[in-house]
Symmetry: C2
Subunit: 363 residues, 2 copies
Amino acid sequence: MTTLQTEKIINLTRGVPPAEAFPTEDLIACEEAALRKYGNILLQYAQAPGFVPMREWLANHYDLKPGNIFMGNSSLEILNFITQLVIKPGDTVFAESPTYDRTNTLLKRACAKIVDIPMEKDGMDMEIFEKELKKNPPVMLYIVADFQNPMGSSTSAVKRHQLAKWAEQYDFWIVEDAPYRPLRYMGKDEPTIMSLSPEKVLHLSSFSKLLAPGIRFGYMVGPDSFVKKVTAWAVDTYIGPVMPTQGMVYEYCTRDLLGKNIEKLKNLYKPRLEALLQALEKYLPRADWTKPEGGFFVSVFLPDGNDMDTLIPKADRAGLKLTDGRGFFINPGDGERFLRIPFCSLNPQELDNAIERLAPLIN
Amino acid sequence: MTTLQTEKIINLTRGVPPAEAFPTEDLIACEEAALRKYGNILLQYAQAPGFVPMREWLANHYDLKPGNIFMGNSSLEILNFITQLVIKPGDTVFAESPTYDRTNTLLKRACAKIVDIPMEKDGMDMEIFEKELKKNPPVMLYIVADFQNPMGSSTSAVKRHQLAKWAEQYDFWIVEDAPYRPLRYMGKDEPTIMSLSPEKVLHLSSFSKLLAPGIRFGYMVGPDSFVKKVTAWAVDTYIGPVMPTQGMVYEYCTRDLLGKNIEKLKNLYKPRLEALLQALEKYLPRADWTKPEGGFFVSVFLPDGNDMDTLIPKADRAGLKLTDGRGFFINPGDGERFLRIPFCSLNPQELDNAIERLAPLIN
């Protein structure tokens, strides 16, 4: 193994799809067809939320109306719009702890008072949630209920129902960020929180994990009245979204290629998840980790006596790039022993090697 | 003419390129080539400001460094980033009067105190500018120096030099929005304000008027240190811009097609500008109008005794859609007799018909 270690750095830092996941030739053919059929629309100014037939396709996909769909240049930017529309400086927002680091950044930019609710392996600790709720209800909760980034685990059905109920009772928005939801490798779907409380949930998703992140095609599903507000805000911000890529995705979807691509991705990623879980069992029996049924991430909770300032440079010297777990926590100290391990862009052998390298560095 | 009038509505409301201006087949070929050559980059997450070779191409085009270029999803959104980085609520911003209506919206969103400087036919009234400057210098001036939207006229060289000097002396940013600059049909270029004061000017441009608005590819040229700030803000907002269209434009530019397309557009638009100016001479001799040497707009100042609330519905009944001139002024009353006439998307005969219809409606 020594040779391999000095030869090739293994990168465990970014949750991105591997290049072999991109259906490049299909996308080329679809872009060509879309520009030839709809060029005069796709090349012209269009007001947000963009390409009308694609909006209709998504509405149909969710069994809703086009008025329930907003499409933009990444779901992260739509989250940015939401924070600007929902949060006044000083307003309270609840977030999972840990949560997606880029959301933390946007919540801070909006001057939200962030209350972080500790995660258990099936979603947030509901006792703490309820206590905080009674103390000071939020204007918004941000949650990744399916295969959470960074934890990989999912919120249980019971907790989803409870959250939906509380959102109505205490009148707050739930932003349900669900980019990984269609990538389930085992087990069965829980209901979306949106389906349990359609008037209080803003459901975000995108084609970044299902097709390609570079197209930056994200969308929001939500109540008609809120979609109108986001649309007006987007028109004032950039008039309309980038159009040719919306046309490309529309053509891809109407050719019925999306479902097939998702199947291909599941077949690619499932053995990677399994290899990672086996490697953790084999090399890190003393640590604790999540056992996701889909998505991009497994997270490892290291034993006492480990911390990021020691581990990251040691891993670096061993040819292993790690993400600093503290970035996923509002209170960075809570992440001293937290490791997010993205498994989609490494093959089973690389994942085995990575954990083999990691094991001797752990106290 | 009566038949024509009832048969076909003439739309004088939007300054958009006509569909026949889009080099659709070339763009299809360039997108295909770009995705085939650089697919693994264009389909992957890229951090702002986007596709590195395109950034280098633009740097070379402006004889600057890549660090001077920021590329985003429309120059309007880059303006939005600038307002968020430069303006604190209550800060003073100077703007031309009239100015681009969407800029007014973004300045108001940033809670700027907008001081509007009246326009003459060669740019702002410099006496009023100086008086306001001495009273309360702004943090930022927004200007469209070339073929202004909505006036069509350009700022003189003398005024450009004066503005550049003042920006340094009084320490404010000049946002020089220049999307029309390459579309000069007669006369000769004045220097960009950026060239006169590179450390105080944020120069915006885009491919919306030179290729196609639907690709939403805008960019900023400015000091390295400010580009870094905008880049960090953009990464936090959406990670990276939409990439396949940046690759398409890069391929288009490296095939040397851009210059040829600009020549084609000039040949298409110049006779339209000439036809509009002739029609104004013929049908509206009592009105006053600008005589632009390029761009998309001519503006007409109607005689006393006209106002928008009367004129717009009358024009509507005569089959002529007009933009409410009041929208271009911070003080809407200043626009009661102001008509912006976009000429690029109508052919010479349509423009002649439009002004012929307009003439009898004017008091």
